[in-house]
């Protein structure tokens, strides 16, 4: 299942901040039901896009070890609707990283105008839940590549962000590749 609610990273500073763009298109099926004749980007999917921006940032920061999930949205304010043809810029900034999770402030802008602001709490799954494979590591690698994270990203020391070696094995061992 394809569940991309961001289209590309434009900034990716490991452990600190990431920016991604989301282009809203009439080719997205759900817009024709939300609402018929009056397409509006659902705020819940804006939150999902903000969570993906922040969640991937946290996932990379843990050297792709922590299974990061969206746990809670304490604050979500939407100042106006986002509609087809808009390009939203999502900015996720890490407020606090903890062994069990993290807090991120994430905003959505249309150009210079603030469209939405949220606070998102992520949890790191551990114990029994942590052992389950949430997704194929190869899918994760492809998602980060497709979103161009490794083209714009920087590691903590400022050097270019490199693809993780732990996921290389998954790619090379896949007979379909």
């Amino acid at each position: 299942m394809r569940w991309y609610w961001i289209d590309r990273f434009i900034e990716f500073e490991s452990g600190q901040r990431a920016k991604a763009i989301k282009n809203i298109s009439l080719a997205e099926e759900h817009l024709h039901d939300h609402f018929p004749g009056y397409p509006v980007m659902p705020n819940s999917l804006i939150i999902e896009g903000l969570a993906q921006t922040g969640g991937l940032l946290l996932y990379e920061h843990s050297q792709f070890q922590n299974k990061v999930v969206l746990a809670k949205v304490p604050v979500a304010r939407f100042h106006y609707q986002a509609i087809p043809g808009d390009t939203l810029i999502y900015t996720a900034t890490v407020d606090y990283i903890h062994r069990n999770g993290a807090m991120v402030t994430a905003t959505s802008h249309k150009g210079e105008e603030l469209q939405a602001e949220t606070e998102i709490v992520f949890a790191h799954l551990e114990g029994e839940m942590g052992q389950k494979t949430l997704y194929d590591p190869l899918d994760m690698l492809q998602m980060m590549r497709v979103l161009r994270a490794f083209e714009v990203g920087h590691a903590a020391d400022g050097s270019p962000l490199l693809e993780p070696s732990c996921l290389d094995g998954a790619e090379n061992s896949d007979p379909a590749v």
Partner: protein, 130 residues
């Protein structure tokens, strides 16, 4: 080095931000679960805010010893045993467990923690002035 008043103020801010309650609802006697509506996921949020506000670390189970409540040694038929109560008292010197001890049903434990308990907990982790 915060005063007791400052500790309460910082805890109040953390609970208002995490739980969406009003300032005046966060009284020392208010219980986190019963009066302020905290759910399990909120405790993760609250711990993060407290750690950040006071620059401390709160290891898992230190504020809320969930491992005692799920341990067969300490819980029987949904009630905390004497050994369990002793362990809880040892782990939570900041909380008043007397009324809970009268009927120590595990399902009621969540409603034990008050804002005042949290203040006392923080006081054990930071140097308090005044």
């Amino acid at each position: 080095m915060p005063t007791k008043e400052e500790i309460l103020e910082n805890i109040r801010t953390a609970l208002v931000d995490a739980l969406g309650v009003d300032d005046d609802e966060v009284t020392p006697e208010a219980t986190l679960v019963g009066d302020l509506g905290a759910e399990s996921i909120d405790f993760l949020d609250i711990v993060f805010r407290l750690e950040k506000a006071f620059e401390i670390k709160i290891p898992r189970g230190e504020l809320f010893p969930e491992d005692v409540l799920t341990n067969a040694e300490y819980v029987q038929d949904g009630k905390v045993t004497e050994a369990g109560m002793a362990e809880l008292r040892k782990r939570m010197p900041f909380a008043n467990l007397d009324s809970f001890a009268e009927n120590p049903a595990v399902q009621d434990f969540g409603n034990l923690l008050t804002v005042a308990d949290m203040c006392r907990f923080i006081e054990t982790k930071v140097e308090v002035t005044g």
